[in-house]
């Protein structure tokens, strides 16, 4: 490996800037948090993460932060993803493969409708009845 100079490091950072900004939570109140514990990764969370990144690119959505966390305690429905939007209850979705990730972006992030068939935690059932169909 050739010794990297500070100038090369600066260039590398500029190249990765867009990807880094997607992970930055500063000034963003829309968040997608992906469970990347060993259970999540084994179930395909890496593919889920890259699908979210590419769908946000395709839809030119800039105001959503994508971050990672460890196991959310729902190992039986990995990969799990928490979606936090203002004015909507925080939701943990389970069994989020690439197709479900696309559905979450289209329906939850853009359409402000919960993807009820993949909800595994939060909000409580009574909240789902009130808000889930809107």
């Amino acid at each position: 490996m050739a010794k990297m100079t500070l100038e090369e490091l600066r260039k590398l950072r500029e190249e990765k800037q867009e990807a880094l900004e997607k992970r930055s939570i500063e000034g963003k109140d829309f968040r997608i948090i992906i469970g990347m514990g060993t259970c999540g990764i084994a179930a395909g969370a890496k593919e889920t993460l890259s699908t979210f990144l590419s769908v946000l690119d395709e839809e030119k959505i800039k105001h959503v932060a994508i971050t990672q966390t460890g196991c959310m305690g729902l190992c039986y429905v990995e990969p799990t993803v928490e979606v936090i939007l203002p004015d909507m209850p925080p939701v943990i979705y389970g069994k989020v493969d690439a197709d479900v990730a696309r559905k979450i972006v289209k329906e939850h992030i853009l359409g402000k409708r919960l993807v009820t068939d993949h909800m595994f935690d939060r909000p409580a059932a009574d909240i789902i009845k009130q808000d889930g169909g809107r």
Binding site: M1, A2, K3, L6, L9, R13, K16, R23, Q68
Partner: protein
Amino acid sequence: MHIAITDYVLEVVQNAFEANSTETRVVLQETAEAFAVTVTDNGKGMSEEVMKRVLDPFSTEEGKHPHRKVGLGLSFLNQATELAGGELTLRSEVGVGTTVRFTFDPASIDTPPLGDVVSTFMTLLAHPKAGSLVIERKTETDGYALDRKELIGVLGDLEMSGNLHLLKEYIASQEAALS
């Protein structure tokens, strides 16, 4: 647990941060005769009396870690260097700072392995209390220096995972090119 020389480096530099050092310099020098590590800080320093107690395993600074009754860091380091034909020296002045220098004889079978230099440097540079930290890594013919202020100027917030990844890549390239 101390397994590698870098574990001791981490421990000693962490002591410097906990002593409120704002300017810390770490030099890790590797020659045929010795692995030598020097950590210089401008923290609160130690009095003669504290210096005498600091190698005692059953002594720790009051209030630093309320749940601990022992301060084993320097004590273990002292034992390890003695065992491996090296030495530990301390110089300190209250209000001025402390210099800790320790060496290991590379020919001794009791010298611990060097350890993961890249991850250790990355951890130290990303430490929120690191302040102005300079790390120098030298061999007989080569070397590199990592200046935290310079790196923050290029990368921004070092605690952010993406930047941390780039920092690790940068340090790894310096380490791999070392002859």
